[in-house]
């Protein structure tokens, strides 16, 4: 996946770190496993073999089928704005798998001694709990016009994913028009699960306000669009704090 993942674990009184070490080790192993399976950069990875037509999806590892099923869910939820099957280079679940892997890594951190944890996969965040028992995690959303600054601060409901055109250029594929494009400067989606949030954020930055309208009708997900002029548009339930 070519990315950096940061894991923060908040714990109460705990003199023995060893159970935490085991949890962290398990979480990190999950991330590396996902990279082995899903890296489109690695020619020998199962996903690369599927893309070249060398491996049938039905014969692929179960975990790959699970991710592709989630991609189908995301395509449906997004009204087709997220579509890993529409890419000219072959099926590419990259838009979902980073978040999905981070969410799985987070699950490995559930432990009595852990009050809260954050898995931040290059800007896409899965979390449970908070910095203290009575608080939720606060997440800063990068201002796409100036990545040194924040556009706003939100409370994380568990998953926060942001996609944008500002770092990699126009790398986002519009499945409806069949071209690489970005409608807005950045799109953020929050919800209960990071894989779907990641995919929906990709859809949001491609589809802009059309996808914001779709998110408005979904119960579990909320969205934020930052337009190239700096204007912020959100669904009604988006958890902005300041």
């Amino acid at each position: 996946m070519g990315t950096i993942v940061t894991i923060d674990v908040y714990r109460g009184d705990c003199s023995d770190d060893s159970p935490l070490e085991a949890s962290l080790e398990a979480a990190i192993a999950i991330l590396h496993d996902a990279d082995v399976l899903f890296s489109t950069w690695k020619p020998e990875s199962p996903i690369s073999r599927i893309r070249r037509g060398e491996l049938d999806v039905d014969e692929a590892p179960a975990i790959i089928r699970e991710v592709l099923e989630q991609c189908g869910v995301a395509r449906s939820l997004s009204g087709g704005w997220f579509d890993p099957w529409a890419l000219p280079s072959g099926v590419d679940p990259t838009g979902l798998v980073k978040g999905w892997a981070a969410q799985r890594a987070l699950a490995a951190l559930r432990h009595d001694a852990i009050d809260g944890a954050i898995v931040n996969a290059a800007g896409d965040i899965a979390s449970f709990g908070g910095p203290t028992a009575d608080k939720k995690f606060r997440v800063g959303i990068i201002n796409p016009a100036n990545p040194r600054s924040l556009a706003c601060i939100i409370e994380s409901p568990g998953a926060v994913a942001t996609s944008g055109s500002y770092e990699r250029g126009q790398h986002l594929f519009d499945p409806r028009r069949g071209i690489f494009t970005a409608s807005v400067a950045s799109g953020t989606v929050v919800g209960p699960e990071l894989g779907l949030a990641d995919a929906l954020a990709t859809a949001l930055v491609v589809g802009g306000t059309e996808v914001l309208d779709i998110l408005e009708r979904l119960d579990d997900f909320e969205g934020l669009v930052i337009e190239s002029g700096g204007k912020l548009l959100t669904t009604t339930g988006f958890p902005i704090v300041s």
Binding site: T3, V5, S127, P131, V139, G140, I142
Partner: protein
Amino acid sequence: MKRAPLVMMGTVAGLAGVLSFNSTPAKLTLGSLASSSSGTSSAPSTTTTASSSPPPTTATSTVTTPPRTAPTTTTTSAPPVTTTTVSSSVRTAIGPSVDYNFGILSVQVKVTGSKITNVSIASINDGGNYRSVSIDQQAIPLLEQEVMQAQSGNIQSISGASYTSAGFIQSLQSALSKLGL
């Protein structure tokens, strides 16, 4: 304080994982430098986050994919920090020059006590091609900001579309290690 570097068992090319523990409030939580490498590929790296009270335990896993055109090299742990200056309570260190996917860079960090007060690029050579320059102009300020924001205490994490440079983190980590953080 207890630090427990964890080297990932996987021998997949260019993977490294780090974790550390910090049981002292209001101090930086930093990953210790650790790396692994296979015999066939390059660029293991580590990363770090900073935070204030209450102290999280921080673990970082870096998954780097070499560029398609990358030469095949074997890399072990980072080279030593090249310079350190000490003046009153503000201390500065420059990390080693690290090869990242789009060039070579080194990171300078200033700390006051245990608090990072500035993170900047000490040197960079990205070859000047448009794509490298474009990525650097966007990604490096973000990385600098992440380090600064993460210890502010008002927020716990940052969400953004990022192209994160493992090289930046690796050089920063070495600089911080030199300062005993």
